[in-house]
Assembly symmetry: C2
Homo-oligomer: 234 residues x 2
DNA sequence: TAGTGGTCTAGACCACGGG
DNA sequence: CCGTGGTCTAGACCACTAT
């Protein structure tokens, strides 16, 4: 038996995650939810406080509660440029789409991401350039079942990562970070020496248990790092 | 004006962080705190629930609430062995202390960790061995002002990281992950080739704004990875 | 069995800030 | 101004579990 405040929490979480209540949407006031669920205000308040604590909603006196904007990537770690860590702002950023094609998921890839083979995926390769130097090579798969609107997107104006964050709320992400030696093709694209140490970030993102995207990002090891500040628990 | 449940939260947090209430210590029952603070049970409950949500205490019916054990490193990411990821248990672990000495913080090191030069630090180098292969080289500084009991510790029975977690609760940690090429000395200790790609994890830990320890851990890139599952916010 | 936390109620007063 | 969320009360019943 799940508690009532938990059920209210999950109901609202579901409406936000599914996009039924988009960012900025006003949530029913506490008093309205009291009536809807036939419970006291404390119970509603507990659920809404929990949602606010997780950053899913923003609560403002007199105005009401609103669905928060999609969270940016900093959840895990900030990605900072070793050479220019100081000047947080002022980066010249651009990107280049190297390739883009739609195919069906091979058995091998399906096993890796634990989805069913044959599903339609959009594969995109993208080079990220900061201050004139390539700083990341991105190889991405987007599951078209989960993100059908990606089918006709060229990613010319917005790179795949940012574009996806705007389109799809995510509920879970798994990250793996490894150190690898650059292969010939990667070395050439990143203008580094072959076998140079690189950071390889693999990220798989889900929405309600369904894979949205799977991406491998290779950074030159001498120019980039991952950094994050954490507090216990959470 | 800070709310009462917040004040209760902070009072207890302080007692835990300062070590006044060590791990395992029983916390006064809700009813006792009602009397102490002269408030209702709901107010106490709100504070204790928040502490439990942050993992600082564990609550058990009939038994009471207890200060949680210091959290293990998984806060950031699990460190898993690529080759033996499957067998979560069953690793043969051992460690070897390579060096141990007390010195005063040089100006350069002081600048790096943003502490005052001249402070006494214990420097320890430690090799971690899993299933017969070296898997990490740890170079650590422990601030003796913050952890005086480290002065006479040999770390023979427990490696510095685990020992510290048992001794000192931490309130903040900063991690940086880089990819680097192994230098000659590191390569020899880790039995890998020189210039092989390695993951370099740098971690600085604070307690109430004071640096407790600063550590650099080098992992062979082909054998290790960092992985973590995350949810939005946090 | 008895003490503890988990949940919930039906009120209340207040502070904030948008209209 | 006045609706909203923030906080708090003084109870209540129940589930769990150590003893």
């Amino acid at each position: 038996m799940t508690s009532l405040h938990q059920r209210i929490f999950e109901d609202i979480e579901q409406k936000i995650m599914s996009g039924t209540w988009p960012p900025g949407q006003r949530i029913p006031a506490e008093h309205e939810l009291e009536v809807t669920y036939g419970c006291s205000r404390m119970t509603v308040s507990k659920a809404l406080s929990a949602l606010a604590a997780r950053g899913m909603i923003v609560r403002r006196r007199r105005a009401g509660s609103f669905v928060a904007s999609p969270q940016i990537d900093r959840t895990v770690m900030d990605i900072s440029d070793i050479g220019t860590e100081a000047k947080v702002a002022g980066h010249a950023y651009s990107h280049r789409i190297l390739s883009r094609r739609i195919e069906r998921l091979s058995a091998v890839d399906a096993a890796v991401i634990e989805e069913t083979a044959g599903a339609e995926v959009l594969r995109v390769e993208c080079l990220h350039i900061v201050d004139g130097r390539p700083n990341a090579l991105e190889k991405r798969m987007i599951l078209l079942d989960a993100v059908p609107q990606a089918r006709d997107e060229t990613f010319e104006t917005s790179p795949p990562g940012s574009w996806l964050l705007d389109q799809v709320p995510w509920s879970e992400a798994k990250h793996i970070i490894r150190a690898v030696a650059a292969d010939a093709a990667t070395a050439k694209l990143l203008t580094i020496e072959r076998h140079a140490a690189c950071l390889l970030l693999t990220r798989q993102t889900w929405q309600n248990g369904r894979t949205v995207t799977f991406v491998e990002i290779t950074h030159p090891g001498d120019r980039y790092q991952f950094a994050g500040v954490f507090h216990p628990s959470k």
